[in-house]
Every structure is written in structure tokens, then in C-alpha cells.
């Protein structure tokens, strides 16, 4: 005996597949399927068999010539979850096999149900067929069944044209130069950033413009787990940052630090885009990043 086993690979295959005649009953079902209709056949006792058979399985009698349109929706009467599909299965990802009693049928059709996960499956659930693009008269003309529609996603999008005149224009022109402009109310002795024309506290006119440094302290923050096109990654941190010399915090992104390490009192500094890329926009500041200085005690 050789020490290594002598093993040969051997394949059984019928090149091109078997040609099979369907007969009038199965043929009718498959022809209707090609036209994206589901039909059953009525037995002498009045039951509707889906898929149709040539005989009544209960009595052995031939079925009648009456075909009845059923479905397309149906109810799952039993199901089993396939976590790892085989090559021959109709779906590549996890799915369920189900017995589906189509509306108007007295027997159940076996087919695949594409559900998001095993928790989305239950006996009694309603499913609808999803058809192949070009039906050919084959049971796989139904790609699979899918759970009944119970929710939809509605996209919302509206476009606006904003014009920066007045104080916003003053502030953004500063940002274009790499400078953050605030305004100081003479009466209240408070510095507001971004620059504004009037004091929100006393209503007085703000005439005094002053440049503020791009360093500050985080007063509060939020960790966001939903993606946002403006954010560097998920999760991202948005924070209120009290710029040094300002009395009102400004909202901005915080990055270059793991989200769970962001804290109140943390010292941060603006990360600007290169000068050549700057425009009159807050996009000039990518985000704020920690400076590494000791935390500040917030009053």
C-alpha cells in the first residue's frame, strides 16, 4: 500500500443539460410564469394546486382543465434559514427557504425568500415575487420572494442660493484671509464670533471688529454615528469651541483625535487648508485638532 492515498477527481455532468418535455399541465404553469403570471390548476374536488400537478395528490384523480390565477403574494407557512448558501442556491447571501401559500391556492409553493436577516422571517409573513428580467419559462423566472413592502425610504433634497451680504460677508472675507473676526459690544463688553452687526443681549450696534486667534477650548461636544458628507469619518465629533478672547462658543468639527478621547476643557486649534485652496468659506477650516496643552477648567 502506498503511504499517500491515491485520489482522483471525478465529475458527473450532462453537457448542455437534459431536455425534458413538460406535458400540458407543468407546461401551462411554466408558460404563464414566462408571462409573469402565477396559476394553479383546479382539482375535481375544487382545490387549487400550486404548482399544478397532473393528478390530485389527495385522490389520484386527473385534475380539471381549469387554470386559476393565484398570488402573486402569498403567506409563509414554514421556513428555514440558510446562513451559508450553496453554489446551486438562487441567492448568494443568507436567505430563507419557505413554503409559500399563494393567495387563492390550497397548497404551498417552495421558493427562496430574500429577507434582511433571520429575525425578519416568521411564519405567517406576507411575501411577493421578484421576477427575473427576461423570464424564459422556468421556476427560476421568479428570482426569489421578498417580504411585503411595509416601509419605504423617501429622499429629500432641495437647493437654495445663499448670498452673504452684511456682517456674514465681513466674517467670510476674514476667513478667506485666514483670520477669524469677532465683534465687541461696547455696552455689554462681550465679544461675539462670528462677527455680527448687533448685540443679541442689549440690541446695540456693534462697531468694534476684532481679530481672534484660531485657538480655543471645547465647552461641550457630541459624538455623531451617522455619516455626514462634511465629516472626515464616522463617528465624528462636533463641538462648541470657545475661541480665546471670545464670550460665545462657535460650532465646528473636531478631528485628529479618537472620538472617545474628546472632552470638555480640551484645548484645540483650527486646521486650515493650504493658502492656495482658500475661498470665502468656512471650508477653509477642515476641523479643530487638539493642541496638547493642559485642559482648561471651565467656569
Amino acid at each position: 500500500m502506498p503511504s499517500d492515498p491515491l485520489v482522483a477527481q471525478h465529475v458527473l455532468e450532462f453537457p448542455g443539460g437534459y431536455t425534458r418535455t413538460t406535458g400540458p399541465v407543468v407546461g401551462r404553469f411554466l408558460s404563464e410564469l414566462r408571462a409573469r403570471r402565477l396559476v394553479g390548476v383546479r382539482t375535481a374536488e375544487g382545490r387549487v394546486l400550486v404548482p399544478p400537478l397532473e393528478y390530485d395528490p389527495a385522490t389520484g384523480e386527473p385534475v380539471t382543465g381549469e387554470y386559476v390565477e393565484v398570488g402573486p403574494a402569498g403567506t409563509v407557512t414554514a421556513w428555514t434559514w440558510v446562513a451559508e448558501p450553496l453554489a446551486a442556491h438562487p441567492l448568494d447571501g443568507p436567505f430563507a427557504w419557505a413554503l409559500i401559500e399563494l393567495d387563492g391556492a390550497d397548497t404551498a409553493l417552495v421558493h427562496a425568500v430574500a429577507a434582511e436577516n433571520v429575525k425578519a422571517m416568521e411564519t405567517g409573513m406576507r411575501v411577493w415575487p421578484v421576477w427575473r428580467d427576461r423570464p424564459t419559462g422556468h421556476i427560476t423566472d421568479i428570482e426569489h420572494f421578498a417580504p411585503e413592502v411595509t416601509k419605504i425610504v423617501s429622499p429629500v433634497r432641495a437647493e437654495y442660493r445663499l448670498q452673504a451680504g452684511g456682517s456674514l460677508r465681513v466674517f467670510l472675507e476674514g476667513v478667506a484671509r485666514g483670520v477669524l473676526l469677532g465683534g465687541r459690544c461696547e455696552r455689554c463688553a462681550k465679544v461675539y464670533v462670528p462677527y455680527r452687526a448687533s448685540c443679541p443681549e442689549c440690541g446695540g450696534i456693534i462697531a468694534d471688529t476684532r481679530e481672534l486667534p484660531d485657538t480655543g477650548t471645547i465647552t461641550t461636544f457630541a459624538i455623531n454615528n451617522l455619516p455626514d458628507p462634511r465629516a472626515p469619518e464616522v463617528p465624528f465629533v462636533s463641538a462648541y469651541i470657545l475661541l480665546d478672547g471670545a464670550d460665545i462658543p462657535m460650532i465646528a468639527l473636531v478631528a485628529d483625535v479618537p472620538a472617545h478621547e474628546v472632552r470638555q476643557g480640551m484645548r484645540v486649534k483650527a486646521v486650515w487648508v493650504p493658502e492656495s485652496e482658500r475661498t470665502a468659506s468656512m471650508a477653509n477650516i477642515r476641523w479643530f485638532a487638539p493642541t496638547g496643552e493642559p485642559d482648561v477648567e471651565l467656569s
Binding site: P51, L53, A78, L86, A88, W97, A112, I139
Partner: protein, 332 residues
């Protein structure tokens, strides 16, 4: 009706892997064993059960005849299904009255291919096979239709595997780990042989023949959605026709490849808590496809041949989800 008995039974020590033996080499020892046990060198009729799709070679049963000594020509037949049905054919042949002995054997090497997908080929080519529905999938649908408790199913698997470990012919399988849900029957290579004898010959060959007092098989629609998968009407019909309920059943060997099938069969055969189910470990402990059903009959008969029991029942199944059921009642 002629009185026919099982007078000898032999099976291989089944393996969970391909040992490299050819099919004639696999069956030769069991044929020789029943020949020695009965002293018979020739049989009036020979019938075997196997499936060409297991080996992927047409007429693979013909080469298995090499193990028999088929020259001068013997009276021989074959069923392309479990050898329990070969036993049924041999029993019918003995009813003709002109022959007194029959050799029945079955064999299968399910290690050669992927049994899960090979069993897809037994489904109808119009509605089921094109979907690629595999053996585990349709068993899963039946388990869902029955809706049995997971703990009850797990206990059946644990009991079967423990019994299998105590059976030198079955596989030495550990308890399934965790809560796996559907436990598939093991891949198994093996063979079995039975000798039938009619009337006086049976009592001359052994002091305690296992008389076949009832034997019947019934079938249901093939398509899974056309029947109530939670019940087995055909197993119940076959059990009634074979007369299972005419006396107490000490032991029942059931061809239950999945735990939920045992629950369905216990109900169909109306077995009570007094009946010991699958003391051999059953198909969950060794499942040489095409011989598994005949082994159920052999195991049930052996208990009578050994004098351990007086009335036992064996069940064999074919087709998807217990479509076709054969029930044998054996009495000492």
C-alpha cells in the same frame, strides 16, 4: 401468505470517511458473513439496493455483483433505493412459492461526493431541483412545519449518538456542540446483508427466526408543498397495513435521519413510551445511505435472532422529508 423469516444479518463496521475500498470489497465481508452464518452458498433469489448517484457511475450495482459469485447465472434484481425495498421485493418473490431463500444486500459510500447536493437530484426536475434545494434545506422546512422544541430535538441527537458509541458498527461521534439547531446525519460508508428463508428452511437455519409478520410500504406526493410535512400519513398507513398496533412493540428501529423525523414517526407508528427507539443509535449515529433502512430491519431482527426481544418494528424511508415509508413487524 407464506411465512418468511430473517435468518441472518451482517453489517460492516461503518466509517465516516472513504477507506479506499471498492464497492465489491465493501460488501464481500458481509456477504461471506451471512453465508457462513446460514451455511448457504447459493440463494434462490438475490436483490440489492443502491444508488448510482452516490458513486456518480451508471450501473454501479453491476460491478458489486462481483462479490457474489454470479456464475453460473443467478436470479437477481436491483432497486435504485434503500435496500429495505430490495428486501420487500425478495419477500414478494418468495411469496411465489417456488424458492425458499433470498439474499438481500445494500451498500453506499456517501463520502465520495457531497450528499447534501446529491440528494437534490432526487427532487423533481421542474419545480424543486432547479432551485438547488438541498437535503438540509428541505429537512429544515419539515422541522419548521413540525415546530418541535429545540431541547427535545437535542435530546434525541444526544441519545442516538450515545447509543451509537456503544454500537461497534456505528460511528464514534461526540455530542453535538452548542445549540446547532438542525443536526445533519453523519457522512457514512457501509454495507449490510440479510438472508430471508421461507417456512421450514427458516427453522432449519436458525433456532430463533425473526418472522416477518407484517410488511408494507406507502408513498405520498413528492412535492413538499402538497402535503402536511408535520405528519407522515404514509408511515401511518404502512404501519396500520403491517399491523404494528396488533401487539406491544419492544424495540423500534426508525430510519430518522434528522431528530424531528423521529418525533413524526413515533406519532405515525403510534409508538408508546414503553418502546425503545433506535437502541443501535439509528441513522444519526451511522447513515450508510441505501443500506440504512435495511440496517434498521437487520438490527430489529437481530434482537429476535439473539433472543433479546419477541416483537420489534423496523422502518425505512425514501424520498424527501419522509415521502415514502416501509414498515416491517418482526416476531419471534
Amino acid at each position: 401468505m407464506r411465512e418468511v423469516a430473517i435468518v441472518a444479518f451482517a453489517q460492516t463496521r461503518h466509517t465516516g470517511h472513504d477507506t479506499g475500498l471498492s464497492e465489491p470489497e465493501l460488501i464481500l465481508p458481509v456477504i461471506n458473513e451471512v453465508k457462513e452464518r446460514t451455511g448457504l452458498r447459493r440463494f434462490g433469489f438475490t436483490c440489492s439496493g443502491s444508488c448510482d448517484y452516490l458513486a456518480g457511475a451508471p450501473f454501479s450495482f453491476v460491478s458489486a455483483l462481483d462479490a457474489l459469485g454470479a456464475w453460473p447465472p443467478i436470479s437477481e434484481s436491483h432497486v435504485e433505493m434503500d435496500a429495505a425495498w430490495a428486501l420487500y421485493e425478495a419477500w414478494v418473490r418468495l411469496q411465489h412459492g417456488d424458492l425458499d431463500s433470498a439474499l438481500v444486500y445494500g451498500f453506499g459510500k456517501s463520502s465520495l461526493g457531497d450528499l447534501r447536493t446529491i440528494m437534490t437530484l432526487q427532487l423533481d426536475p421542474y419545480y424543486l431541483a432547479p432551485l438547488g434545494l438541498d437535503q438540509l434545506s428541505y429537512a429544515g422546512l419539515q422541522a419548521s412545519a413540525l415546530g418541535a422544541e429545540r431541547e427535545e430535538l437535542a435530546e434525541i441527537v444526544r441519545r442516538s449518538r450515545a447509543d451509537g458509541r456503544a454500537n461497534p458498527y456505528a460511528l464514534d461521534l461526540p455530542d453535538p456542540e452548542g445549540d446547532d439547531g438542525l443536526v445533519a446525519p453523519p457522512v457514512t460508508d457501509g454495507a449490510a446483508a440479510v438472508v430471508l428463508a421461507a417456512g421450514d428452511l427458516a427453522t432449519r437455519l436458525t433456532s430463533s427466526p425473526a418472522w416477518i409478520s407484517g410488511l408494507a410500504h406507502r408513498i405520498e406526493p413528492h412535492y413538499l408543498g402538497m402535503r402536511d410535512l408535520a405528519r407522515s400519513a404514509s408511515a401511518a398507513d404502512a404501519a396500520r397495513a403491517a399491523g404494528v398496533g396488533k401487539g406491544p412493540v419492544e424495540v423500534a428501529e426508525l430510519h430518522a435521519q434528522f431528530a424531528h423525523e423521529e418525533i413524526i414517526l413515533r406519532e405515525a407508528l403510534e409508538l408508546t413510551g414503553d418502546t425503545v427507539i433506535n437502541p443501535s443509535g439509528g441513522p444519526l449515529a451511522a447513515n450508510p445511505v441505501m443500506a440504512t433502512g435495511l440496517i434498521r430491519i437487520g438490527e430489529a431482527a437481530q434482537r429476535i435472532l439473539d433472543g433479546r426481544n419477541h416483537r420489534t418494528v423496523a422502518h425505512a424511508a425514501g424520498g424527501p422529508c419522509l415521502q415514502h415509508n416501509l414498515v416491517t413487524v418482526l416476531e419471534g
